[in-house]
Symmetry: C2
Subunit: 219 residues, 2 copies
Amino acid sequence: MTMKNQLEEPPMQPEKTIRLFIADDHELVRDGIRARLEDDPSIEIVGEAANGKQAIERINAANPDLVLLDINMPEMNGFETVEQFRKLGMEQKVLFLSLYDNKEYVRRAKVLGTNGYMLKDVSQAEMIATISKAVQGGFHVTSSLDDCLDNTTSDLPMLTEREQEVLAAIAIGKLNKQIAGELNISVRTVESHRSAIRQKTGGGNAASLAKVASDLGLL
Amino acid sequence: MTMKNQLEEPPMQPEKTIRLFIADDHELVRDGIRARLEDDPSIEIVGEAANGKQAIERINAANPDLVLLDINMPEMNGFETVEQFRKLGMEQKVLFLSLYDNKEYVRRAKVLGTNGYMLKDVSQAEMIATISKAVQGGFHVTSSLDDCLDNTTSDLPMLTEREQEVLAAIAIGKLNKQIAGELNISVRTVESHRSAIRQKTGGGNAASLAKVASDLGLL
DNA sequence: TTGCGCCTCCGTAGAACTACTCAATTGCAC
DNA sequence: GTGCAATTGAGTAGTTCTACGGAGGCGCAA
């Protein structure tokens, strides 16, 4: 367990250009990223997509070193897209780009084995730095999120899958009875989950649970 | 009441450049806008701000023809910023820029007497076109929002102020009892408002009201 | 002045949720 | 196998919300 395998790709020149693929549903944001990075000779933008589906179709042809992936996209969001990558055997490095400094998002990004989480409010310098680091491997977040990293496994609510299902249903206004029907469990079980969710999240009534759900990115 | 006062600034050349001020909390988005507009000789970017407060401080010095204003900004959002403009006697034209195709936002933009509402997913061409139109006056929305315009006064829930206060409180998980205390009204009154809100929005239980509140931009 | 919308308040009945408690089953890790 | 977490289910009591019904005051506009 030495530091050897830190350099898996052997002959890496110091000035090798990074082949970057951008997936974001807003053309405006893509333009912004382009504008920022095109000055930098060490980064080359080799492709774009406006959603996860397009990304999957186009990435292999573009053969990027790193995929800059927005989380909130229509059709297929960033997380789902990465899951698809894995299923299809695509092993590109991924750096998430998101508007939200949401601990749960950061946690999921880490759990998925991606290489970083970057907020959209970063400066040009930090964006370039984070991209460079993500390409090397490991998991990197932009500075304002540093604190999310430490407690990423301990501090967070960490709802179980079932609890997340139930919470998502609660958040869109479903009644316990409906939820029970859809999940094929008894109303009492739904209540049990609900109560567990309340305990873990500190949320009180149904409305505040809805807020929690949206904070957790379950909608 | 002829059309005379439509041209208050008398000698307007056809190719006059538009002096544009950009207020958006994301440097990335500002960069994107810059990148898109800097090719166009008819638009000149004369200033930037990262929030409403900065915008107010800087706009007079920049003397723009049009302010491109993000809605979701920290400290002071776009709507509050415009209200401040008015209080301070600033009469610059305003074009909102937002991520959300939210009818209620469009309605508020219109009610505030601003000159348009542009989604952040517009193309470069449409962005330039909308800016040009907004500078001329009137109220303009980007194409995907056209349908919001017609029913902007009739179709929408149009909650009363009190109802909005109550809804906002519900959405963050407050109990009727708490709300009653804070608004100095009885619990029964809160219930009445709540029931009116349910009727107007179609929302059923508390959780779905929370969702409605967030859709309406009350949080 | 008459009407209308908004805000305020109330009663009753039932549905839904909250707050505690407990426990059987499954599967996974040590 | 023992322990632990996740999922499932239940009892009891109390609180909160929902769905009806009704009514008075106030301001504004036709």
